[in-house]
């Protein structure tokens, strides 16, 4: 068990160190979050549409599109010089490889999710409601479910000639539950509804994250093995 955890840890360490050196994905996701906030700010006629009413959906769609920019490239650096093949030919279980990459992606995406929230709060003058902690929890669980699903499908798409182009087509239909429950929870928290009213949504987000993580861990080896 300690070896298994150590293998997960070293994959997270390697992915984060590579990102620290290249800054490819975090910059792309961060820039996308900020620019989306700016554009949405100018695209809404706030005299007719209250930002508070539409912000939740926009936040989650920005997170999904921005996240795909980063997670879609998760296997790009692995493909150079056949590094992924080297990892797969090590004794590390395939599910440990998947969990390591998913955790690394979560570590990169979650700050971006908070940045998205911050950008929309700034540009739309949002009220974060009475339970900002629940808001952050919803974003954390949504981010985890998102990376769990998109890391698996990034492995699928990296093995095709369409590459990253294929990823949204594969992932978007499966993200519908996450967007429904995530945007639902976020919207209600931001209009100050009681916490009890969003508990169900939070539980559904947690279930989505756990199910996609478990399914990804099981299915990853069928994706990457010859």
């Amino acid at each position: 068990m300690s070896l298994y955890l150590s293998q997960i840890r070293v994959i997270v360490w390697k992915d984060l160190l590579l990102e620290f050196r290249t800054r490819e994905r975090i910059v792309a996701m961060g820039a996308f979050a900020v620019l989306s906030g700016v554009l949405f700010n100018y695209s809404l006629d706030t005299a007719r549409v209250a930002p508070q009413d539409v912000a939740a959906g926009l936040i989650w769609m920005t997170l999904v599109f921005g996240g795909l920019l980063g997670v879609g490239r998760t296997f790009y650096l692995e493909a150079q010089d056949g590094a992924m093949q080297g990892v797969l030919m090590s004794p590390a279980p395939k599910d440990a490889v998947y969990l390591g990459k998913t955790l690394a992606n979560f570590t990169l995406l979650f700050p971006v999710a908070l940045l998205v929230l911050g950008v929309f709060w700034l540009f739309f003058g949002l009220d974060l409601g009475s339970s900002p902690g629940m808001l952050v929890l919803a974003l954390a669980l949504g981010s985890l479910g998102f990376v769990a699903l998109s890391t698996l499908f990034a492995a699928v798409s990296s093995g095709t000639h369409m590459g990253e182009t294929l990823l949204p087509i594969l992932v978007f239909p499966l993200l519908v539950p996450m967007v429904i429950y995530g945007a639902g929870a976020t919207g209600r928290i931001m209009v100050g509804r009681p916490v009890e009213e969003v508990t169900g949504n939070i539980q559904m987000l947690a279930a989505f994250a756990l199910i996609t993580l478990a399914a990804g861990a099981v299915l990853f080896r069928f994706v990457v093995e010859d």
């Binding site: 070896l3 293998q7 650096l77 010089d81 590094a83 093949q85 080297g86 090590s90 004794p91 010859d226």
Partner: protein, 238 residues
């Protein structure tokens, strides 16, 4: 249980890619300390054969056993016994030489990395490049680092796919010395190469693969080094 001397045993190996049969019924048994060099023209199926011996490719038919244990793809423990050096280095360009070895060492569960990594880097002449990112290294240095990576966990079986590709004479000499150490240290090695001269310098056994089959195989004592080039072409041309 009786200890087996054979390090690797392949029976009836076949690898198909759709309608193309890349490897066609190869049988192979290698004992401890044997250094098999497989020659063959492009498209003969050498890399596919090597991929199946190392567990990178699943055979369409046939079995591979390492130390008597059949390869089980759902359990990667046998991978500790195999080291692979291909024309790709399996290295991360933005990690340093030392970080690459530490990463792979921890995937293999090695505990003595603080001693092992400097020793391996010294063995391939890269001590003064330990903190260089791989993208800053020359091709020859990368290949030497890839060799250090392949040997980091002291595998019983070393698989080498065209290791001399693109190496300058100095890098080729370092590689030759390390491979000679492996042979003299009773490791089992399978090397695929087009380079007849380099291959014959190290081999204890030679095979020539043509159209997926081992068209000829034997110990180097049966090989006349002066006329091997002619013999090779005769075998390849059938």
């Amino acid at each position: 249980m009786e200890a087996t001397r054979s390090v690797i045993e392949a029976r009836g190996l076949v690898r198909e890619y759709g309608p193309v049969v890349a490897v066609d019924g190869v049988d192979l048994v290698l004992d401890e300390g044997e250094f098999l060099v497989i020659f063959g023209p492009n498209g003969a199926g050498k890399s596919s054969l090597l991929g199946m011996l190392g567990g990178a490719l699943r055979p369409t038919h046939g079995t591979v056993s390492i130390r008597g244990t059949p390869l089980d793809f759902s359990d990667g423990d046998w991978r500790r016994r195999v080291g692979v050096l291909s024309h790709k280095g399996f290295l991360y360009a933005h990690l340093t030489a030392e970080e690459n070895l530490r990463f792979y060492g921890r995937l293999f569960g090695l505990r003595d990395l603080d001693e092992r990594i400097p020793e391996r880097l010294a063995r391939v002449g890269l001590t003064n490049r330990a903190r260089f990112e791989v993208r800053q290294l020359s091709h020859g240095m990368r290949q030497r680092l890839a060799l250090a990576r392949a040997l980091l966990h002291d595998p019983d079986l070393v698989l080498l796919d065209e290791p001399y590709t693109g190496l300058d004479p100095s890098a080729a000499s370092v590689l030759r010395d390390v491979l000679r150490e492996l042979r003299d240290g009773h490791r089992t090695v399978v090397m695929v190469t087009h380079n007849l001269t380099e291959g014959l310098k190290l081999a204890t056994r030679v095979a020539i693969q043509v159209a997926g089959r081992l068209a000829w195989e034997g110990p180097t004592t049966e090989v006349d080094r002066d006329t091997f080039d002619t013999f090779y072409h005769e075998v390849v041309e059938g």
